[in-house]
Amino acid sequence: MSEWVAVCRLQDIVPNTGVCALVGERQIAVFRLDDDSVYALDNRDPFSGASVLARGIVGDLKGERVVASPVYKQHFSLSTGQCLEDPGVRVAVFPAHIDGDTVLVQA
């Protein structure tokens, strides 16, 4: 069973952007929105193979909160990891929450 890992302080993430955290040998993209909700996704963009999802622009499409890959601009749901453009593609998501000013990810 994976455990909760503290990855950074809340102020380390500019609202509406992401950072990449190293958890074990795993790269996890952690996003903070301006309502101080946090989301964690696998940082690897499945279309380019580059570890860059943390650098994407966040927003919403038809109410679904998404990050756009900075490489080829596909959108991934922040809550499910589902790619909106390709039903067959999904990236792994991880539970994330804030405790005080610490951001934690379960991986």
Binding site: C8, L22, G49, S51, D60, V66, P70, H75
Partner: protein, 840 residues
């Protein structure tokens, strides 16, 4: 069937295209004889050959056209005889070409008055590209040039001589210019305008002879005893149909020339057709391309078996721009119809003359003359052709708009049969069909129907029909940015500027909905930068930026970035070149020279970017904005400092332009180039802004593009001094920045701009909207507030915090793997990456 076509001009080519469109199967063998060394080209735009277009630009033959099965083109081979008995054509090259049907599209010859001395050297006509090449060569050794003939073509030729830098004269036999199209008042105004541009007009002059001059090469002696000295002469005193082949073959010809044709464009030999300027229909020669096209279509349909195809005369209305002066003539411009009534409006201070000719019962428009402002041409022409009932106050059609007065006509009133583009024979119905088939932009319509692609005069009308039809269909004409904003980029620009909005949150709260997305966020970030020029990585702007802007570098496929420092004008001192090499070696970067005269350093990890830029900034480099929708580079040739042919210092101008506009954000990237002479080594005509040196200053081209859809730039203004050049570029760029769509390059922007280059010219050069000073001031503000983003960034610890791959570790991204190729790094392919992972 064997078909022979003599002549491959615009009309001959149109015939072939119409025939191919109708031919079923490849059973027809077509042979085309063309005496010129190149296939059909746009003779209407011939003058643009001198303002930068090449012979290739003027080509009108679709790619691969003559490679179609059954199609043979014999260039440089002139027809010399028609043997009607044996039904074959003999060519100068010795070929004997049998025919079942023969089409004569031999066009016309310029008329050269039979004057003593007309055959002296450096006396030319103005018809073929070869004529123009000869004129250009002669102009190089001349100072004064004279055109004989003040008609439509003569004035075109005068513009050409002026473009070649000659002191230009026009000699006209009649008392006024453009006798056929204009009346005395219109002709007088046109003359005044043309003289103001530096062309001297000699009206009512009958040339007696051309002799040797004292000061210049020739002396033209007039019947009234006066004389004019000139170095070269261009004869443009009308045309004569080329009917010699037909005449020798015994076909019926007119008393004053022209091959007699019937309503099917057949000659007196029913197997021989004649089309275009060589054909005489109902006692008339049509010296314009549009009627020629109509004849071509009729003949093609008739040859293809459509027996009912008929030519029943054509409209001779014309609209053109002579040296920047709009001139139009519609229908019965001289009021020759019995009881016709005139309305006349003159504004001598603005240089505008307009005349309406209406029927005696005041119901219909018969004709019109417009000089100085021909914006109403399209609607007036429709009104005269269809004919549509006149409004209650016909004068409103030509008077400056009064409050409440509705101008022009509603396009909705036009019948489907209304000819909209007379050059290409496109009716309103044809345009509506194309819209129904899915064309939803002016660009798409032009491509699908060819409407507005020859003279462009009907462009505004086509756009009105498009808008009207889309509206009727309930089609969303909106170009909303994305689901978060019901506005176009242009509208948002306006809202942000007028509302002084400075953050995404403020704009989406007031004018949008939701949280935004990767479309609207970078678009608004760009607008904020264009309006307020705040540092793009300020905390409120940083989350809006695409990754390239966010890290001030260009993301590559493996997650690393490339760095392109600014090298203004492509000029770089050896010391700085060495710095680039040393930095690349220090950080193990791949280096490549870009197409834009800069040096690209690739393979930098995100955490290396600040270190690399620290070294570069210390050595005096600035951000090159290769990552931004902004000015990229200003390419230049070495100019007159070094080059034997250069006429201006293109490098200094390029550096000046690059330093002026660096960092300015725009709807899309912008590329600029400056060439030091017309050889155009900097390829300025393929750029958003192109500057080409002339003897007197600079020619300014705009809206060119390379890339997916290359577009030759349009000439916006000529012979500008340094200051005016910069002022015009200021206005042009700011106008584009304000009105462009998201990710719309200037080339597409112009193609969708109602009124096209003429409208852009009015706004930029004539300040028709009265916003010139405002555009300049806005641009100056951006210039004054420029700061190097990298210099700012490396001094800001908060920004620097973001330049690391892991928020909780200093380790680099293990997923970035390079291999060596040709002595430099490159990203590992997936299988190489796995291999590397397995061995570590």
């Amino acid at each position: 069937m064997k078909l022979v076509v003599i002549g491959n001009g615009m009309v001959g080519q149109r015939f072939l295209e119409q025939l191919v469109a109708r031919a079923n199967g490849g059973s027809t063998q077509v042979t085309v004889l063309c005496e010129e060394p190149r296939p059909a080209y746009d003779r209407v735009q011939l003058t643009s050959f001198f303002s930068g277009k090449s012979a290739a630009d003027l080509n009108v033959v679709p790619a691969g056209f003559f490679e179609q099965p059954g199609m043979t083109l014999r260039l440089d081979d002139k027809a010399v005889a028609i043997d009607r008995e044996r039904k074959l054509v003999r060519s100068a090259g010795g070929a004997e070409l049998p025919y079942d049907k023969l089409v004569l599209a031999t066009g016309s010859n310029p008329f050269v008055p039979p004057l003593p001395g007309k055959d002296r050297p450096d006396c030319f006509v103005y018809r073929t590209i070869e004529d123009l090449e000869a004129i250009r060569a002669a102009a190089a050794r001349a100072r004064v040039g004279t055109v004989v003939g003040g008609g439509l073509l003569g004035l075109e030729a005068a513009k050409a001589l002026k473009d070649l830098g000659l002191e230009t004269h026009v000699v006209e036999f009649a008392p006024r210019l453009m006798t056929v199209q204009l009346d005395d008042s219109g002709g007088r105004l046109l003359r005044r305008k043309i003289e103001a541009l530096g062309v001297t007009v000699h009206a009512s002059k009958n040339t007696k002879e051309i002799a040797g001059g004292a000061e210049r090469r020739h002396k033209m002696v007039f019947v009234d005893g006066t004389a004019l000295e000139t170095d070269l002469i261009v004869f443009s005193a009308g045309i004569r149909p080329r009917d010699d082949l037909a005449r020798a073959a015994g076909l019926a010809v007119g008393e004053r020339g022209g091959i007699v044709v019937d309503n099917h464009c057949r000659t007196s030999d029913l197997d021989i057709y004649a089309v275009g300027e060589c054909a005489l229909w109902n006692g008339r020669i049509y010296g314009l391309v549009a009627p020629g096209y109509q004849m071509a279509e009729v003949a093609a349909r008739h040859v293809a078996g459509e027996g009912d195809a008929q030519f029943l005369g054509a409209d001779m209305s014309t609209k053109l721009k002579l040296m920047g002066v709009d001139v139009a003539s519609i229908g019965d411009a001289h009021g020759a119809t019995l009881n016709a009534l005139n309305y006349i409006y003159t504004d001598e201070s603005a240089g505008v003359y307009k005349k309406l000719v209406i029927s005696g019962d005041r119901k219909y428009l018969l004709g019109a003359i417009l000089v100085g402002d021909a914006d109403e041409y399209g609607s007036l022409l429709q009104m005269a052709l269809n004919p549509l009932p006149l409004p209650e106050h016909p004068e409103d059609l030509i008077l400056p708009a009064r409050e409440g007065a509705k101008k022009g006509l509603g396009v909705d009133l036009l019948p489907a049969s209304a000819a909209i583009c007379t050059c290409n024979g496109v009716s309103k119905g044809g345009i509506c069909d194309a819209i129904a088939a899915g064309c939803a932009s002016l660009g798409a319509l032009k491509k699908a129907t060819k409407a507005s692609t020859t003279c462009g005069g009907c462009g505004p009308l086509v756009k009105q029909i498009l808008d009207c039809e889309l509206k009727k269909r309930g089609v969303d004409v909106k170009n909303h940015l994305c689901e978060h904003f019901d506005y176009s980029r242009q509208e948002l620009f306006h809202l942000i500027r007028v509302g002084k909005l400075m953050s995404f949150d403020a704009v989406i709260a007031q004018h949008g909905r939701g949280r935004g997305c990767d479309i609207c966020k970078p678009a608004l970030a760009s607008i904020f930068a264009s309006c307020w020029n705040e540092m793009i990585l300020k905390p409120r702007h940083a989350p809006l930026q695409d990754t390239n802007d966010h890290f001030l570098a260009n993301l590559q496929k493996n997650g690393t970035y490339s760095i392109i420092p600014r090298v203004p004008g492509g000029e770089i001192a050896p010391e700085k070149l060495i710095v680039l090499g040393e930095v690349a070696r220090k950080y193990g970067l791949y280096t490549k020279i870009t197409g834009a005269q800069r040096i690209d350093l690739l393979g930098a990890r995100v955490e290396q970017l600040p270190l690399i830029w620290k070294d570069l900034v210390d050595a005096g480099f600035e951000s090159g904005h290769a990552y931004g929708k902004a000015l990229r580079t200003v390419k230049s040739c070495v100019g007159n400092t070094w080059c034997r042919y250069g006429v201006q210092d293109s490098v200094a101008m390029a550096i000046g332009i690059e330093n002026r506009y660096r960092g300015i954000r725009s709807p899309h990237k912008m590329k600029v180039a400056v060439s030091g002479c017309t050889r155009e080594c900097a390829e300025a005509q393929g750029k958003d802004v192109g500057v080409i040196a002339t003897e007197k200053g600079w020619n300014l081209y705009v809206c060119g593009n390379g890339g997916v859809k290359p577009r030759h730039a349009d000439l916006l203004a000529t012979d500008l001094d340094d200051r005016t050049l910069i002022r015009f570029i200021d206005r042009f760029l700011m106008f584009y920045i304000r009105t462009g769509d998201r990710l719309q390059r200037t080339a597409t922007w112009l193609e969708n701009l109602e009124g096209g280059i003429d409208y852009a010219r009015k706004v930029v050069c004539e300040d028709s909207l009265g916003i010139g000073a405002e555009l300049e001031a806005d641009m100056q503000k951006l210039v004054d507030t420029y700061e190097c983003e990298w210099k700012k960034a490396i001094d800001d610890p908060e920004i620097m915090k973001r330049f690391r791959h892991f928020v909780n570790s200093d380790r680099p991204d293990a997923n970035v793997v390079f291999v060596t190729e040709r002595g430099q790094i490159r990203p590992a392919r997936p299988e190489e990456r796995e291999e590397a992972a397995a061995t570590t």
